[in-house]
């Protein structure tokens, strides 16, 4: 018999506690982000597809065309090409194509890059119906940013 009333009171109390919690939540700020109208800034460790890092002074790519990223990529989705101008010591990047359709964002390329010329972008608006949209010319992207 005492169990009956104990259950009744504890049950009623727990119901009241539940209602109190939801009442408090009702007045907390809304967490919905109305996506196309408002967007969130991505956190620093967000991994979008890779992008080239520009030199702080010239804005040109820091890439030395060593090809380490191309070799490190397990899916073979990076194509790098460069050329050495007459009398110049270093190679200059002429082409950096990322085939994002096979990229798994493992980050081996970013790790392997000695000069720190590539990094993860914060890009996430990537929906498309065309395959070709995911073959990204990163050099063009860097120049476009500049």
């Amino acid at each position: 018999m005492s169990g009956y009333f104990a259950e009744l009171f504890s049950g009623t109390k727990s119901l009241a506690i539940g209602m109190g919690i939801t009442f408090k939540y009702m007045f907390k700020p809304v967490v919905t982000v109305q996506y196309p109208h408002e967007t969130l800034t991505m956190p620093p460790r967000y991994r979008g597809h890779i992008e080239l890092v520009g030199d702080e002074e010239t804005g040109e790519s820091k890439c030395i065309v060593c090809g380490m990223c191309q070799r490190a990529c397990p899916s073979g989705c990076i194509t790098v090409a460069g050329e050495k101008a007459e009398g110049d010591k270093k190679k200059v990047l002429t082409k950096y194509i990322l085939d994002f359709t096979t990229c798994s964002l493992c980050g081996s390329c970013v790790e392997s890059c000695k000069p720190g010329a590539i990094t993860f972008s914060k890009e996430y608006n990537l929906a498309s119906r065309r395959r070709e949209d995911f073959v990204i010319d990163l050099l063009k992207r860097l120049r476009g940013k500049k």
């Binding site: 119901l15 539940g18 209602m19 939801t22 009702m26 809304v30």
Partner: protein, 334 residues
């Protein structure tokens, strides 16, 4: 023709009441969606009109323009008769409800009895709708809803009998008049009549939740197992009328709780004027609680539901009844 004559006044009132019921059904859906959204920290309807206020209108137009499908193999009479059978008693009950001292269609001596008489037709509407649909889910749902109605009508009516023993009348306006002069005179706080008065209110409120098939007692429309419940086969306005009937019943349940326990149109403090505003304020506070409860508690099982009724509500309300009778015998309320 005299515009103030009784039949015309009554007709005007009934028209007004139908508009009130329809508006309530439409806008309570909006309130429900907004409250649900904010409890879950979402925004809720916002695109149609400011704060999504035109959403109910758009929903209504959508329902009205939809084709009313009559499936094969149904019972043609019962299928068509069921939605009005749910809505009409609800609208009829409004006739007896006093919104203020004068704003009442008809001050009926047996108002309380009449409302409960009409409320029991509800169950019939649900049962016929489910049965006439020739759909196994609808039948199961209707059976559940009716067994639930029967189980919860008992403690509800026992509580009402307790109240009537104290009030000595079934006239709703008289019951409200007895609660004049401040909130301490409302029946929920008249502990001298019965020390368990708040418990009576709680029992009444829980039972009215169950009677109107509201969460957490909405077993009749458990989507995960029964599609939509007894109105599975209804489309367009057939479904719309079921929906309106359900919301009208919620309004009536809350009105009754307001009238019996919270003093109806009486103001909470003696120096404030009485009036329809107080009634609506209390009514919507209760309706808000009903909506709030829906988004707090998960649906019970059928066993939990019947256990609650037979093991807790009925014994407690019976004890309450005996206690009230004894109290009345020893210290008669003037």
């Amino acid at each position: 023709m005299n515009l103030t004559s009784e039949p015309i006044r009554l007709l005007a009132f009934v028209l007004g009441v139908i508009a009130f019921a329809a508006l309530n059904a439409a806008y309570l859906v909006w309130v429900e969606r907004k409250v649900a959204a904010h409890i879950q920290r979402r925004i809720g309807p916002k695109e149609v009109g400011p704060f999504g206020l035109l959403q109910p209108l758009v929903d209504g137009i959508k329902l009205m323009t939809k084709q009313i499908l009559i499936p094969q193999g149904i019972d043609p009479v019962l299928f068509r008769i069921a939605p009005p059978l749910l809505l009409i008693p609800a609208v009829m009950s409004f006739v007896a409800i006093p919104f203020s001292e004068i704003l009442v269609a008809r001050e009926i001596n047996l108002g309380l009895l009449m409302i409960f008489a009409f409320a029991s037709i509800n169950g019939l509407g649900v049962l016929l709708g489910g049965w006439g649909s020739n759909n196994k889910y609808a039948v199961i749902s209707a059976a559940r809803a009716v067994s639930q109605n029967v189980a919860y009508e008992i403690p509800m009516l026992i509580t009402v009998i307790t109240m009537v023993m104290i009030t000595h009348t079934l006239n709703l306006n008289d019951i409200i008049r007895q609660q004049s002069g401040g909130f301490w005179n409302w029946y929920i706080l008249r502990l001298n009549a019965n020390p368990l008065m708040p418990v009576s209110f709680l029992i009444f409120f829980v039972c009215s939740l169950a009677e109107t098939n509201r969460a957490p007692f909405d077993l009749g429309e458990a989507e995960s197992e029964l599609i939509a419940g007894y109105h599975t086969e209804y489309s367009g306005m057939g479904f719309g009328i079921f929906f309106m009937g359900e919301y009208a019943n919620i309004v009536i349940g809350c009105s009754l709780a307001t009238i019996l326990f919270l003093g109806g149109w009486q103001s909470p403090l003696p120096f404030l004027p009485n009036g329809v505003l107080w009634f609506l304020l209390k009514l919507y506070a209760l309706i808000f609680t009903v909506i709030w409860i829906r988004w707090v508690f998960p649906r019970t099982t059928i066993y939990g539901l019947l256990n609650l009724s037979w093991k807790y509500l009925i014994p407690i309300s019976l004890f309450n009844l005996i206690l009230t009778a004894a109290m009345l015998k020893i210290w008669p309320v003037s």
